[in-house]
Amino acid sequence: MGLGQTLLTIMALMLMGRLILTVNRTTLETGSTKDVAEYRITATSLGVSLLESAHDLAFDEATVDTFLTYSQSSALTAAASFGKDLGETDMSTFDDIDDVHGYIRIDTIPNSAIFMSTATVQYLSVTPPTTITTTTTRTFNKLITVYVTSPYMVDYATVDSTETPVQDTLKFQSVFSYWYFR
């Protein structure tokens, strides 16, 4: 085999190698996207579950056993004091919404992934008709935000400064407003 034929053979092998690597990468990326989609479904169910559980809680520590009127907003918990109260450990012992602030839960789902859910609670200032902003002032509206993430949930479309795909985080929000029947 002459030099020209040898070079042609090497080139053919290189082209074939390149083709195999490209196909392999595409297959792996597709499989990863499919897996992440499945993790997102599970993460969504976990996030909504946490929101639903919070819906069962009283609006504030001050309204667990009594009612407040519109002018009594100063009786509500200060924004800086949000978080679990003494003796409270998890959702089964929380009695009002702001106890969920700073709550962290780890879920290990069989045949899936490990998920971390975190929650924050903020007061909301509502100025009709459409202006809604977070505030530290006590109001009768609270915004709960739940973040669910997993080390297996990676967004390959977004990369950081080192070209590394970033971990994906799902965000769920719900507004709680205080009201009672008279």
Binding site: M1, L19, K34, A37, I41, S45, D56, F67, I109, Y180
Partner: protein
């Protein structure tokens, strides 16, 4: 034709044959993967469709446009078992998207596995969603697990079928959807048995949130 030429021809034939075999194997593997991913997407889409339907319907447990019709939201659930639930709600109509103010009954349950004995998967079942007293029509979404647990206000699990449905405060819904056909590509890493492609969904839902605003 000299011996060198013959050797060149043999060598090139071997190289060509190897490349051809690699290309064919590559093509076969790619096709298998594409098909498997497509089937996986089908399973996920089925699960999303079922969960969206359940979320929509279960969110409206105890809802009625005419709020005086349901005297207490605690009476909304009429029957509660692990694989069947019956509750009051208010269906939207074309002219009244928020309901017509008349109580409707919704029933969810899964049928026995024998109903889908024609599929290779021995565990899949028909899922039934019945409005009022309409004829039950099951859909095959590949549901293999449809399990509900019920909890009272103190987060204690209630035994099923629940005798006193008014005690139900939360419910946990677990759904698993599997593909009707087993693909050899998927293995249980513990037993090395081939398994069905599956997707899993579990959610806690509050039954009657109107009771709990305080």
């Amino acid at each position: 034709m000299g011996s060198q030429t013959i050797l060149d021809l043999i060598a090139s034939s071997l190289v060509f044959g190897s490349l051809m075999l690699i290309a064919l194997r590559l093509n076969g593997g790619t096709m298998e993967n594409v098909q498997a991913f497509r089937e996986d997407i089908l399973v996920q889409q089925n699960l999303v469709a079922v969960s969206q339907l359940l979320e929509y319907d279960f969110r409206k447990i105890a809802y009625c446009k005419n709020y005086t019709v349901i005297s207490s939201p605690t009476d909304a659930i009429r029957y509660a078992d692990t694989s069947k639930i019956v509750f009051w709600t208010d269906f939207p109509t074309t002219t009244q998207p928020y309901g017509d103010g008349v109580l409707d009954s919704m029933t969810y349950y899964v049928g026995p596995t024998s109903e889908l004995s024609v599929t290779p998967n021995p565990y899949d079942r028909l899922l039934y969603r019945v409005e009022n007293d309409a004829t039950p029509i099951g859909v095959n979404m590949g549901v293999t697990t449809f399990n509900m647990k019920y909890y009272d206000a103190l987060h204690a699990e209630l035994s099923t079928p629940v005798d006193s449905c008014q005690l139900i405060q939360y419910m946990q819904i677990t759904i698993q959807v599997e593909h009707p056909v087993k693909w050899t590509k998927y293995y249980n890493t513990a037993t090395y048995d081939t398994v069905y492609q599956s997707a899993f969904w579990r959610q806690v839902r509050l039954v009657a949130k109107n009771l709990n605003n305080r």
